[in-house]
């Protein structure tokens, strides 16, 4: 079973994402900001990360930069999932090493498609 780290400061979003991902047969770990997520990654790298942009303590881009610097961190598939839906943010995310990008709101079909595109499904 593949693991997915869901990083979002909204508990509701984390719950919805968890439900969708568990139906797709993922083992889900949650984190409410980038710092908590980074600690989780340091103890065990997930196969994929569903990542919000705007969060307290450490935002999504900073987390992504830190993740990519970890040993093996370049192999983790990172899918942004954010309300930042303008072209500039998307380009910045891709430049920072994001594999895919979901513009909220999302549904299970979009998550499934994007996870499939990055090889997680």
């Amino acid at each position: 079973m593949k693991t997915c780290l869901v990083v979002d400061d909204s508990k509701v979003i984390r719950m919805v994402a968890r439900k969708i991902l568990e139906e797709l047969n993922f083992s889900v770990v949650e984190a409410e900001d980038g710092k908590v997520a980074l600690e989780a990654c340091k103890s065990r790298l997930p196969d994929g990360v569903l990542l919000d942009w705007n969060m307290p303590v450490m935002d999504g881009i900073e987390f992504l930069n830190e993740l990519r610097a970890l040993p093996g961190g370049e192999r983790v598939a990172v899918v942004f999932c954010t309300t930042e839906n303008d072209l500039q943010h998307i380009q910045d995310a891709l430049a920072a090493g994001a594999n895919e990008y979901i513009m909220k709101p999302f549904d299970s079909e979009i998550i499934q498609t994007k996870f499939s595109q990055v090889g997680l499904i």
Binding site: I90, L94, I110
Partner: protein, 278 residues
């Protein structure tokens, strides 16, 4: 809606588009025809039905048919057929069409354009292989409204996220307010035409590759067989037909044969398929 009204509208749809509406889909008539009723100034569906029964106004019949034949469409739907198109079918045709350097592709139920534009994006990415080639993409649909939408190349955030890789979105689309517009160069690769699959496609010419995905499922067996026979006539012996994942030619027509190992792909029976069975 009572049974008589349902059957009346279903018979109109069958006659005009081939679409078979099962009784359990009666709710679709109500949800999809209410906007049509409002457009024509009717208080509701009963008034619309009375007018259709009495006068059969062509414009109204046309809008009813269009509203009922509009199907969802996705970019790179199911991905794999498009991977096969890119990696196997086009390279093979480039080998076999060296003398004419011409490839014609038909997207036979183009709806809002995602399928023909997915094809166009792939071909755009294959420019080095296809330099000096004349590659035509003809996209047809029964619905004028859908064709106009498709021509605009304008899609919602929801639509562009369904199937389109983010790198492709960034490369080929521009953000226009809340929507995304496809690059004019890609749009210009697709020629949209109004066409009813119940008609003879001879006037459209011959096609090396035909995408007719997720539309036959709405037809009865006889209509499926007739549509497939007409498509077969429009293809050379080495042509490739793509159907949807839930569709098949088996038990419907002997004009096409499945290309083994390539789900959803069919060659002309007795022909020499561009793509051999895997």
């Amino acid at each position: 809606m009572n049974t008589a009204d349902f059957e009346f509208l279903a018979s109109i749809l069958k006659q005009r588009s081939g679409l078979v509406l099962a009784p359990e889909k009666a709710y679709l008539l109500e949800s999809r025809l209410m906007p049509v009723a409002r457009k024509f100034g009717f208080a509701g569906l009963p008034e619309l039905i009375v007018t259709v029964r009495k006068e059969r106004p062509e414009e109204l019949l046309r809008d009813i048919t269009e509203a009922m034949t509009t199907n969802e469409s996705l970019f790179f739907r199911d991905m794999k057929p498009f991977d096969q198109f890119r990696n196997l079918v086009v390279p093979k045709l480039v080998e076999s069409r060296q003398s004419t350097r011409r490839i014609r592709i038909w997207s036979a139920a183009a709806s809002s354009g995602q399928e023909p534009y997915s094809i166009a994006i792939i071909l755009m990415e294959m420019q080095s292989l296809l330099a000096g080639w004349d590659v035509e993409i003809t996209a047809t649909d029964i619905s004028v409204e859908m064709l106009n939408r498709a021509r605009s190349g304008l899609y919602t955030q929801f639509e562009v996220q369904r199937g389109l890789p983010i790198a492709t979105l960034v490369k080929y689309f521009k953000q226009v307010g809340e929507k995304w517009r496809l690059d004019a160069g890609v749009r210009s690769m697709v020629k949209f035409k109004e066409f009813n699959l119940l008609d003879d496609p001879a006037a459209l010419g011959r096609f090396d590759i035909v995408f007719c995905r997720n539309v036959l499922i709405y037809f009865d067996q006889q209509t499926k067989a007739e549509v497939l026979a007409r498509i077969a006539k429009a293809m050379p012996g080495d042509g490739v037909l793509y159907l949807g994942g839930a569709e098949t030619v088996l038990g419907i027509t002997d004009r096409f044969v499945p290309i083994t190992g390539h789900r959803g792909m069919y060659g002309i029976a007795g022909g020499e398929p561009a793509l051999k069975s895997a």
